[in-house]
């Protein structure tokens, strides 16, 4: 009896190993070097399949349309779009690149972080790609390496702003604020009426630097201060920057209960369920908000500054680059070329409801057009992403955790500014004495 069950075991072992070689990806076919990562060398028709990786899990449907447009123009090339959860994207991509594999086309984090891949030699320079000159220098800066070469085609421009619920604003006779004091007055009124003024939470760090990216420029009056920082003429200990942190704190009474434990999803729920009236977030959130509540009367306002103007915070979001070790570089470069065309820009903007990085692309969406207009009239950079996303941990991360600490009552605004300054001094050349 015992013997028999053992034989059974072994047969099972043997059987399952046979089974495995059958289903483990057709044995030697997939096992051949260079074909990993799902790169198929192509089928009988000589079709090339490009792997394209991204961190936008939300965008699968939209990308399908964009890719279809490309495939129609380029028979013989197929693109497999594969997004990963944003939090795992870097892990997966870095591990793959470090062992000389990875996708043919990959979405690059903007500015310093994405360009670290170029420095390590994993990206193909794109300077010779046709049509790249349609982009402004500022746009290309997001994907330009320290060696001055361009490594990515900019995809979209992001803005951050304060979304608000028009219905609630109208109900209490509130108008878009023209100054910081007006904004606080609005928040106060809402609170008195029992409505949470801001859908805000500090559990996820990146939302904090994002919110500071909106509130901050109002306190330091936008780009003039940024220029001075970049030249090293002033720094994060300056009264302007301190004021920007203090304002983050000043908003605390207008946040929801338990806001230190809230994550993005909770905030979305609060805002789209019309329990909160304002929501500081990015242009990339627009479509999700609409989907969650199609009846939401949504609008946004740019940040009023202390010198009586207003600014919208903007930066180039991810760009796409080509793997230097790709087996199908020529085909991948074709897609890069496609990304510079107006056709791409329009398809992308309309199917994903985003602002295309290709200039002068209009969409059917009034809010997106309003954002795009503001970018050309009164932009200010998202300082932490554009210029201070370096160091380890990055200065941006340092600001995020320090703000978290401030909301938890462990740091004062002065200490937050000090931490940020300290972090920047470890790597930012103009701050090094």
């Amino acid at each position: 009896m015992k013997k028999r069950s053992l034989t059974f075991f072994l047969t099972l072992a043997l059987g399952s190993s046979l089974l495995l070689s059958a289903c483990g990806g057709n044995g030697s076919d997939t096992a051949a070097p260079g074909t990993d990562q799902g790169k198929q060398a192509g089928d009988s028709k000589g079709e090339v399949v490009l792997q394209m990786h991204s961190w936008r899990v939300e965008d699968v449907a939209g990308y399908e349309k964009v890719i279809k447009a490309f495939e129609e123009e380029n028979p013989g090339i197929k693109i497999e779009f594969k997004p990963f959860k944003a939090t795992e994207y870097n892990t997966i991509l870095n591990t793959a690149l470090q062992s000389d594999s990875g996708p043919d086309i990959m979405q690059l984090r903007p500015y310093g972080a994405g360009m670290a891949l170029a420095e390590a030699g994993y990206l193909e320079p794109l300077d010779s790609v046709k049509g790249l000159d349609v982009f402004s220098k500022e746009s290309l800066a997001a994907a330009t390496g320290k060696d001055g070469k361009v490594y990515g085609v900019p995809l979209s421009l992001n803005t951050t702003q304060i979304y608000y619920n028009k219905k609630i604003f109208d109900q209490y006779g509130l108008k878009e604020p023209k100054s910081w004091d007006e904004l606080i007055a609005i928040a106060k009124t809402l609170k008195e009426k029992g409505i949470t003024p801001f859908a805000f939470g500090s559990k996820e760090g990146w939302l904090l630097s994002l919110s500071h990216g909106v509130i901050g420029p109002g306190a330091y009056n936008g780009s003039a201060f940024v220029d001075k920082v970049l030249k090293g003429e002033t720094n994060f200990l300056s009264p302007e920057f301190q004021k920007s942190i203090e304002r983050m704190k000043e908003l605390t009474p207008y946040f929801p209960d338990n806001f230190t434990g809230l994550e993005l999803t909770d905030l979305r729920t609060l805002f789209t369920a019309e329990k909160a009236a304002m929501f500081i977030n990015g242009s990339f959130e627009l479509e999700g908000l609409r989907k969650a509540n199609p009846d939401l009367q949504l609008d946004f306002f740019p940040m009023p500054t202390d010198d009586g103007k207003f600014v919208i915070t903007t930066w180039v979001d991810g760009s796409y680059g080509v793997n230097a070790k790709s087996k199908h570089k020529a085909e991948a470069l074709k897609f890069m070329e496609f990304m510079t065309t107006k056709k791409f820009g329009e398809t992308f903007a309309n199917s994903l409801m985003r602002i295309s990085a290709v200039p002068d692309v209009k969409t059917e969406d009034p809010l997106i057009n309003k954002m795009a207009d503001l970018i050309s009239t009164s932009p200010t950079p998202y300082l932490m992403v554009v210029n201070f996303n370096e160091g380890n941990p990055t200065t941006k991360q340092t600001l995020e955790t320090a703000l978290q600490g401030m909301y938890l009552g462990q740091l004062t605004p002065e200490q937050v500014a000090q931490e940020v300054q300290k972090s920047a001094e470890t790597w930012f050349a103009p701050f090094k004495k």
């Binding site: 870095n94 972080a113 420095e119 390590a120 209960d257 338990n258 806001f259 909770d266 991360q397 955790t401």
Partner: protein
């Protein structure tokens, strides 16, 4: 006659040689897929890394940085402290309660099988699922726990459990205990059931009461299972990663209050959450070496002491 004898001898010597093949498959798989990657990762700690590209040999510089340079030294100390709390917390909550439960079941209770199965059930879930499930339960505004508290009139107890640095780490430890308690119960129960009946009977005849019986006879005799469980808990506590990652992200949020050494390692090696963050593979690998040294030396020492004690028995 002679011929057959030599043949059996030959057969024997060839069989003798063949015996050395026995540990080979295990050894090969283990060395190739566990030891080799780990030790090559260790060598990474001796190099300077530019992002994810390997630079020049720098000796022990990464280790010096890890222990002396801000903010790494602070992060290391804080994460190490959390690992210690994690271990102590697990020992008290998970193993303490588990021993009590095992003892109650050992003293005969109706529905013992049901109880054991109930305690063990959470252990079957993937940690990623456990993390997600508890995140939903502990959600400050819509979660079941705060709703429950409000229902029974304890609203003021409701809080953002995972968003408050005073509670976040303990919440994680409790979730981990919820997850691991069934396994500990089974181990302790097996230890209890291995105690010879006669010893207990004899002690009872001598008039030893419940508490005395427990502390004088049962606990000492359960030492092997207690030690094993403690060592396992230690290893688990110092490698704590998945649950923290699933619930609090790679920054050990909020404000590093749930950061552990393994999460810190992950952050250094792969960058933080939300993306776009820099990596420091040299530092990460140095941390891996240190982490390994801590876990290996402590657990080897305790296993050694245990074996010595066993021999004395």
């Amino acid at each position: 006659m002679d011929k057959t004898r030599t043949r059996t001898l030959q057969q024997k010597s060839s069989a003798k040689w063949l015996i050395h093949l026995f540990p080979l498959p295990a050894l090969l798989v283990y060395v190739i897929f566990v030891l080799y990657p780990l030790f090559s990762a260790f060598t990474y700690s001796l190099y300077d890394w530019k992002g994810i590209a390997k630079g020049s040999f720098v000796g022990l510089q990464n280790f010096i940085m890890l222990f002396q340079q801000e903010p790494y030294n602070e992060m290391f100390a804080r994460a190490f402290g959390h690992n210690v709390i994690y271990f102590v917390g697990e020992m008290i909550v998970q193993n303490g309660i588990a021993f009590a439960l095992a003892y109650i079941i050992y003293r005969k209770i109706r529905g013992a099988e049901f109880l054991k199965a109930a305690y063990f059930l959470p252990r079957l879930l993937s940690v990623i699922i456990v993390g997600f499930l508890w995140k939903l339960i502990l959600n400050p505004n819509f979660g079941a726990l705060n709703t429950l508290l409000a229902k029974v009139g304890l609203q003021e107890w409701a809080r953002p459990w995972l968003g408050d640095p005073d509670t976040a780490l303990y919440a994680i430890i409790l979730v981990n205990s919820w997850f691991g308690i069934g396994f500990a119960v089974l181990i302790f129960l097996a230890g209890l059931q291995a105690i010879p009946e006669e010893l207990i009977e004899a002690a009872r005849l001598e008039g030893a009461g419940g508490l005395r019986l427990l502390t004088r006879i049962i606990l000492p005799l359960c030492m092997p299972s207690l030690t094993i469980m403690s060592v396992l808990t230690f290893i688990q506590a110092f490698e704590a990663f998945e649950l923290v990652y699933a619930m609090q992200g790679s920054m050990g949020e909020p404000y590093y209050s749930t950061d552990t050494l393994a999460v810190f390692f992950y952050r250094l090696t792969f960058g933080g959450a939300g993306g776009g963050d820099t990596v420091a593979i040299g530092l990460g690998s140095a941390l891996a070496v240190v982490l390994f040294a801590i876990v290996a030396s402590v657990s080897a020492l305790s296993l050694y002491v245990m074996r010595k004690r066993e021999v004395q028995h």
